[in-house]
Subunit: 272 residues, 2 copies
């Protein structure tokens, strides 16, 4: 059988409620009792039961994360960022792939609602849940929701600065890091010789490159697929994760946060 709070209470010769209070760090409890209870806890090797706690407190210390496709290279870094922050607060994450399929997404959603997750991260461009549950949207701002996003404008202007009058060419693969950045890039006729070529979600093919050309690769922390000589445009997946986590925590803890948009900056760095 499992060691429960009652067992601890019996061993410490106090009431269940007292044990619960000690565990939750209730201030108004005599040091002597606290001592006794902790002794019993360690003695018996008691481990609190999160499920029972959840049933009683109707919180699960768990958040659901919707990703269109978990296997995307940056997904891991995003999850790592989330986990880093949330785990420090006793909150676990449950990632779910929605695959762009509404039915599948609906199933995932109701499954997580059944689990009574305390909140959602929506990183799949899908609609927010109808239910009134704390959620953070990652991506383009949507009305009345908490949103975190990557500052495409900043990336665009950094590229423009690097270009300095040259043409900027955008090559995007099937899974670009900066979707939508095309619209922000300068498209006026180049005044100088040469080209800045941004490969977003692609590796550049070997082509003759003139000395006036500059190659920029999108990359994340752990996907260092940047060939020597190329510039790197950093897509801050990890930071996006830590930021989302902090925002969601605030909402869950009801810190009176108003719906807001927070964004995180990409960084452009030169070849080594």
């Amino acid at each position: 059988m499992r060691v429960t709070m009652s067992d601890v209470a019996r061993a410490a010769q106090v009431n269940k409620a007292t044990v619960s209070r000690v565990l939750r760090g209730d201030a108004r409890i005599s040091p002597a009792t606290v001592e006794k209870v902790w002794a019993a806890i360690k003695e018996l090797g008691y481990r609190p039961d999160a499920i029972a706690r959840g049933l009683s407190s109707s919180r699960s210390d768990t958040v659901g994360v919707f990703l269109e496709d978990i296997s995307l290279p940056w997904a891991a870094e995003y999850l790592a960022g989330l986990e880093r922050v949330l785990s420090r607060h006793g909150v676990d994450i449950i990632p779910r792939a929605t695959g762009g399929d509404p039915q599948q997404r609906y199933n995932a959603l109701s499954g997580l609602l059944s689990r009574r997750v305390d909140g959602f991260i929506l990183f799949d461009n899908g609609p927010a849940p109808e239910a009134d549950i704390p959620s953070v949207i990652v991506g383009p701002k949507r009305e009345g929701g908490h949103t975190v996003s990557v500052d495409l404008g900043s990336a665009a202007s950094q590229l423009a600065r690097l270009a300095d009058g040259r043409a900027v060419e955008l090559h995007q693969g099937e899974n670009p890091f900066f979707p939508g950045i095309g619209a922000l890039l300068p498209d006026d006729a180049p005044k100088k010789k040469g080209t800045v070529r941004l490969f977003d979600g692609l590796l550049p093919q070997e082509e003759g490159t003139s000395p006036d050309d500059t190659v920029v690769i999108s990359a994340t922390r752990r996907c260092p697929a940047v060939p020597p000589g190329a510039w790197k445009l950093y897509w801050p997946a990890f930071e996006l994760g830590t930021l989302s986590a902090r925002l969601l925590l605030n909402i869950i803890q009801g810190k009176g946060v108003r719906p807001q948009v927070v964004s995180v900056l990409p960084a452009l760095t030169g070849p080594l």
Copy 2:
């Protein structure tokens, strides 16, 4: 307030227990009643409560996944593989980074035990939990445990075949896909001209390559950082995930699986 089973029971004019049985698909229940109950369920928008269910059944339909570092490029694909299989069985995953720190890992472990996860995936080279709980180890076989691993031997022999008498050179980055493969590579004196160079966790630097040389890059599905002209040694992270998931499910469902080692094959493919 929340819609509970009692509400459904009242609406359908049956007992709570009957509703529970209908939900669990109990065979011995009259079609008429089933009909009524489902009607009430939809009518009221009832959603079963996984926490209450867990308390009562002492299962959580949840598994913990230990990764040393979630942000590694292949981690996402592994998780995606896990999720793909497990979600179809109503099981959710809770990934945790252990960061190679024993203390941190211990905390994660006891947190997940508190949550009453139904099983563990250990992909961080750490020790198996002392508790007797279904677990699958990913990596080198350990005594008496269920293990899934990547067949390094197969990768080595495929490389040897490709080399066909030439030298095989191994370049590994800080996060190689094939740790340990070095020991398996042929190291006899090359009989032919040229070299097979395997870049494992690295991008090759631009160097003069003789026509007799062959470049091989380790890659996963979604990390296609393979320059044109290079061979690709596929590290089957996704498949590792689906395999781990199936094995763990079998163990959890007590299908009498004996401790075993299953491995998944890397594939070597030529340039496009």
